[in-house]
Symmetry: C2
Subunit: 310 residues, 2 copies
């Protein structure tokens, strides 16, 4: 058995980085030879968590076929969210919590997909079922990933599985998760330190919706005004990325992590479909406010998919 | 939570029927309301197993959207192998052991896919992990499914997971699995009772290979001559099905379950690609002998996929 790389999606968030570290650790305990890598540098929130638990960020790679024949994917399955040469390697394992889209394999694989709030919760349950202990520092990172993906268990994506994993991991990591969680989330919202590109594209993913390529970024903040004070510059950056990459539509979700509201900012075509998706008009500033919306996966992509296909 | 239907692929074999019964039973124990159904009547082998363990065949359905909004798939994920109106319902659960192809969901789902010889083995492990007892009659069916898919553990698709499940299930069902297994496999090979259509299409599946639709049927026998004594009629039936359904190529795998050899019979175009796939010429009777080849999934579809895409 030759070495395999384990990695999450492009523009990695705390879960993409942590899930690769955790699943690689688990698989190595089970006898595989794997290395966790990442498709980008950790963001400020992830850096805060890595520093808190004294762990190293995974090595960043641009391609994988130059190193290995086989890979394990975590936290994504859509090829356009994966490494650029994903079509040149065999995916042997997948652990995910997203929709399945354009994911095709020539061979049967090992896949565990659960509709949970966070992949690190799925991996926590795999550790449990295999009766393998989770080291305290890794447990701290997995706890951070669940806090990040579920906004401290407040997102509608949160399941009882996530709640149970948070309790168990907080105990292993010996952390007051509510106190730590707010500090970690705030560490990710320092917009002054972020470029326009960081804000609009740092956490962005591309979605193929009925023939249109829709780019959807998300930024967390403790005050929406901190984002939209820079709106003109952000729109310019979104337009520039659309021109460079051929996106048809660019949507930025600005989410207030304190009150769980979001504003959508929409650039490009298909604005009628976005309005149809949420049953609401964009205002003159190309924005709409969506109270209670915090989850791209659960509250933004599905209504958009319906509106584009309907 | 409203009722969901659970079903395997078209032209159901023993595993497709049994996996639906077993997964439905498991999910009902876990609090779901489900019913196992089938996309066709049981074949002779499955009938033998159902009779032996005194169980009823699942109800046959042609469509599902007229009954339910949500479904659970077992033993298949490719839409062209599923119910005709699969695009009108939401797939909430998937248990499979095949490649993933053209399987797209709008929402995250629960999926457990393992590269084992049989889906009933995957479901056996789910019962184990949930600490739920398997009734003796259902255990007998699950044992039958594994014997069927792995040709009594002799197929190269067989894993240690299948071997362990067979041992455990034989104990629960109180069956000598080797003695029972040979009898059950032979019950499925009574070709006299089968029409030409039964033989070429009874277990057939369609595969999209680089733009071509390739239909691949498989028939088990204890003597290849029993199949090819009827070759002219079988070819006529294959040609007729190609004309009706727009297949580009029709391949029949005739497998001798006693010595684990197969003959391929090929009708239609792309014969160069079939020859390339197996590094062997078709003889004047449009056939090639493939010693040791018994698995469509592991030994026929992957080399064909490479040859069509290469």
């Amino acid at each position: 058995m030759s070495k395999e790389l384990v990695f999450g999606h492009q523009n990695p968030d705390t879960d993409a980085i942590t899930a690769a570290m955790a699943f690689s650790y688990l698989q190595n305990q089970l006898g595989y030879e794997t290395e966790a890598v990442a498709l980008g540098e950790p963001n400020d929130e992830t850096k805060y968590a890595l520093k808190h638990f004294d762990m190293e960020a995974p090595r960043v790679v641009k391609t994988v076929a130059n190193e290995v024949d086989q890979v394990m994917l975590v936290d994504h399955n859509e090829p356009q969210q994966s490494v650029s040469d994903i079509d040149k390697v065999q995916v042997t394992h997948l652990v995910d919590h997203h929709r399945i889209a354009n994911f095709n394999t020539a061979q049967p694989l090992w896949a565990t997909v659960r509709p949970y709030g966070c992949v690190s919760t799925v991996i926590y349950e795999l550790f449990e079922s295999k009766h393998i202990d989770i080291p305290a520092d890794l447990a701290g990172m997995m706890l951070s990933a669940i806090i990040s993906d579920t906004l401290l268990l407040k997102s509608p994506t949160t399941t009882d599985h996530d709640r149970e994993a948070v309790k168990a991991l907080a105990k292993i990591a010996d952390v007051d998760y509510e106190d730590y969680g707010i500090k970690m989330l705030k560490a990710g919202t320092n917009l002054d330190a972020k470029s326009d590109n960081d804000i609009v594209d740092g956490d962005a993913k591309s979605f193929e919706l009925n023939g249109s390529t829709v780019r959807i970024g998300q930024v967390n903040t403790v005050d929406l005004d901190d984002v939209f004070a820079r709106q003109a510059d952000l729109e310019k950056e979104m337009q520039s990325l659309m021109d460079q990459n051929g996106y048809d539509t660019f949507i930025l979700i600005a989410t207030n992590i304190l009150n769980s509201d979001s504003d959508l900012l929409v650039v490009g075509g298909n604005t009628d479909k976005v309005e149809k998706a949420f049953g609401k008009k964009l205002n003159d500033a190309h924005r709409m406010n969506l109270p209670g919306v915090v989850s791209r996966k659960k509250q933004v992509v599905p209504p958009l998919t319906d509106a584009f296909e309907g």
